[in-house]
């Protein structure tokens, strides 16, 4: 099977600081790939390079998406989303003043924009646009059901509890029809129950939607449960890469990440 995402020699420098240093890995469409590491290991920087929020100093990010092979590092931020890369944020970024349903419709901006004839046809009440909007609402409803949020559709997103906001953000990302979903610490701040619900949602996405998942997390227990494949970063470098069992047993990981020294002391 060919890789969905191939990251090669990715390096990101901010002045004298090298946040990500020559990292290479691949992610499969059938996998949940975890990127883990202690705080400041360069996980989010790595993510921002993949999703176009930063332009990497060196390296290539290749996506085998719907439109064939694409070099993501050459595209501006907004175009990366259109190639099928969706993301969520470590500190949730919803459109707080809009309803949950509206949040999910914004995610389908491009399809709806075309259907509204770039606003001109929509302005005169073109029937094709009404149909497209109904289809968009149906898609939003599907993802709300998957996320267990259908009853909250008309609530302002900012008024939802924290765990629900996390799921809205994932549902919103899925409404863009991605081939790769990048989640930045999706389980942060969730209680065990919410965390279990989240895992179910991730399995559904992986198994029923041919969408690969790339996941940043520093909570080991979450990563060990849901991930099929794990990449470990420390001080911007990749120190391990493999299945959860392999990574768990890797002495370099234990030393760098689990803090063997403190425990031994």
């Amino acid at each position: 099977m060919t890789a969905l995402l191939t990251v090669e020699h990715l390096t990101m420098r901010f002045g004298g600081l090298t946040a990500v240093d020559d990292v290479s890995f691949t992610a499969l469409a059938s996998d949940i790939t975890g990127v883990i590491g202690p705080n400041g290991a360069g996980k989010t920087t790595c993510f921002n390079c993949i999703t176009g929020f930063y332009k990497p100093t060196v390296g290539q990010v290749t996506l085998a998406g719907r439109n064939g092979i694409v070099q993501l590092e050459q595209l501006p931020g907004a175009k990366i989303a259109r190639q099928g890369v969706a993301r969520t944020f470590q500190n949730i970024r919803l459109f707080d003043g809009m309803t949950v349903l509206e949040n999910l419709l914004v995610a389908q901006h491009h399809a709806l924009m075309r259907a509204s004839g770039f606003t001109v046809l929509g302005l005169i009440g073109w029937p094709g646009y009404t149909r497209a909007e109904r289809a968009a609402i149906d898609k939003a409803r599907y993802w709300l059901q998957q996320a267990g949020l259908e009853a909250e559709a008309d609530r302002e997103a900012g008024t939802l509890p924290y765990g629900a906001q996390r799921r809205v953000e994932i549902a919103r990302a899925m409404c863009t029809d991605p081939v790769l979903l990048c989640l930045d610490e999706p389980a942060a701040g969730l209680n065990p129950r919410e965390s279990a619900d989240l895992n179910q949602l991730l399995y559904t996405i992986r198994d029923q939607h041919t969408c690969g998942i790339l996941l940043i997390e520093h909570d080991m227990s979450v990563v060990m449960t849901v991930c099929d494949h794990i990449v470990v970063l420390d001080y911007g470098r990749k120190i391990a890469d493999g299945t959860p069992a392999e990574v768990k047993a890797d002495p370099a990981v234990i030393r760098a990440y689990l803090g063997e020294d403190e425990e031994a002391a």
């Binding site: 809009m98 949040n103 009440g125 259908e150």
Partner: protein, 421 residues
């Protein structure tokens, strides 16, 4: 009990502070009146008036503070009772207002002054609805909106002067030119955010005005441009006499000539323009572009991650807002018959922005109410002379105390999955 007396003490402290502030302001402004006595200016102190001012401020501040502490410390809350009532009645209040506006010129009390005030109010309503797209929806704080108003007005004047085009041909051109200026300004500026953006638009507004003053060969400089053609009714002018071969509109309509007819005609033109603006604004909000604007306002980074091109979306908002200002400007030009840079100062931008903010960002109905308060009342109370601005200021302060987030600050969702509650 201790809590009550503590609250009272802090209220008194607040009131005395406000009184001190009032004293600082009132002593020189009200207290020192200059009188011309035999060619000599002497100062006639007005201590009673100053005492009254300070007394009123202390008492008012005391009442507000007590009322607030009784209502709870946090005054910023959801839509109040009156706003809720407005929403509930919004379904028929809107059409009712439109109906009232449509028959206003034929009401028994509608004299020429009332219709003139109506025209001015409707012009500002239209401008504020246009600015609302930029500020209320897209969240771009534009402090130079009047620049596009000026572009529209000068477009009509210049096309009439050089190409002899009438109002109806120049009207769409004014919109196009204003939108063009919007895009021209937008390109370099839209990458800026928040305060920086506001400052640059403020500068742009001034640049346009200063160019209008100094480019004398084209704009006539401070003397302005005159002889702007009046709009015609399908080629028929509203005038006592018409050029040979053309019927004056009053003859066609079978009426005695009366100059008020032209005022009424102006009234209906701006009413139609304003209603068109409202229809477009309402539609736009429900279209993907409108949702994209609101998304950019709420969180532009998330919007970008969803594939929305920030620059294009903001540019569209800017251009549409500018086009609406251009239309309003062309109407202003043709109504005045004469324009000069004096009509396009920063204070105009500030007033339009004040209307949008006071109305509750995003609410079309709130904007109408705010325009009537800000534009209509001072126009109607011209008889009160220098006291009208005082009353105006007091009204603003009261509204900001009563509804700090604008008169109608509720946001209605553009789509719903369930039924409307």
């Amino acid at each position: 009990m201790a809590e009550t007396s503590g609250r009272f003490a802090s209220a008194i402290k607040e009131a005395l502070l406000a009184g001190l502030l009032a004293a600082v302001l009132a002593l020189p402004i009200i207290g020192l009146k200059t009188v011309d006595r035999g060619g000599r200016l002497i100062i006639d102190p007005q201590w009673t008036a100053v005492a009254w001012c300070i007394g009123i401020v202390i008492l008012g501040r005391l009442l507000v503070a007590l009322w607030r502490s009784r209502a709870g410390a946090d005054v910023v809350k959801g839509p109040g009772r009156i706003a809720l009532a407005f929403q509930a009645q919004g379904k028929w209040l809107g059409p009712l207002l439109i109906g009232f506006a449509a028959i206003l010129p034929f009401m028994p009390f509608a004299d020429r002054q009332i219709i003139d005030v109506g025209i001015v109010v409707l012009t500002y309503v239209m401008l504020a609805w246009g600015l609302n797209i930029v500020v209320g929806l897209a969240g771009l704080l534009d402090l130079g909106f009047v620049a596009f108003y000026a572009v529209g007005a000068y477009t009509v004047a210049l096309f009439a002067l050089h190409l002899d085009l009438g109002f109806w041909v120049a009207l769409p051109l004014a919109g196009v030119f204003a939108a063009l200026f919007g895009v021209l300004l937008g390109f370099p500026v839209l990458r800026l955010r928040g305060d920086y953006f506001a400052i640059v638009t403020l500068g742009f507004g001034e640049i346009i005005r200063i160019v209008l003053i100094n480019w004398v060969e084209v704009t006539g400089g401070p003397q302005g441009l005159g002889n702007i053609p009046r709009p015609t009714l399908f080629g028929m002018p509203f005038a006592r006499t018409a050029p040979p071969g053309v019927t004056p509109a009053h003859e066609f309509l079978g009426l005695e000539f009366n100059p008020v007819h032209r005022v009424i005609f102006f009234y209906y033109i701006i009413l139609v323009l304003a209603l068109l603006t409202a229809a477009i604004a309402i539609r736009l909000r429900r279209l993907p572009i409108g949702r994209a604007w609101e998304a950019l306002r709420e969180n532009d980074i998330a919007a970008q991650a969803l594939g929305i091109n920030r620059t294009n979306a903001k540019l569209a908002a800017f251009a549409i807002g500018a086009a609406i200002a251009g239309f309003a400007g062309s109407f202003f030009g043709t109504r005045q018959g004469f324009i000069s840079p004096e009509s396009f100062t920063f204070i105009e931008s500030a007033i339009i922005l004040a209307i949008v903010v006071l109305g509750g960002m995003g609410s079309l109905l709130g904007i109408v109410i705010a325009t009537v308060l800000i534009i209509g009342l001072p126009e109607l109370f011209r008889d009160l002379q220098e006291f009208r601005m005082l009353g105006f200021g007091a009204a603003m302060v009261l509204i900001m105390i009563w509804r700090p987030r604008g008169i109608l600050s509720h946001r209605e969702p553009t789509v719903r999955l369930g039924a409307k509650p």
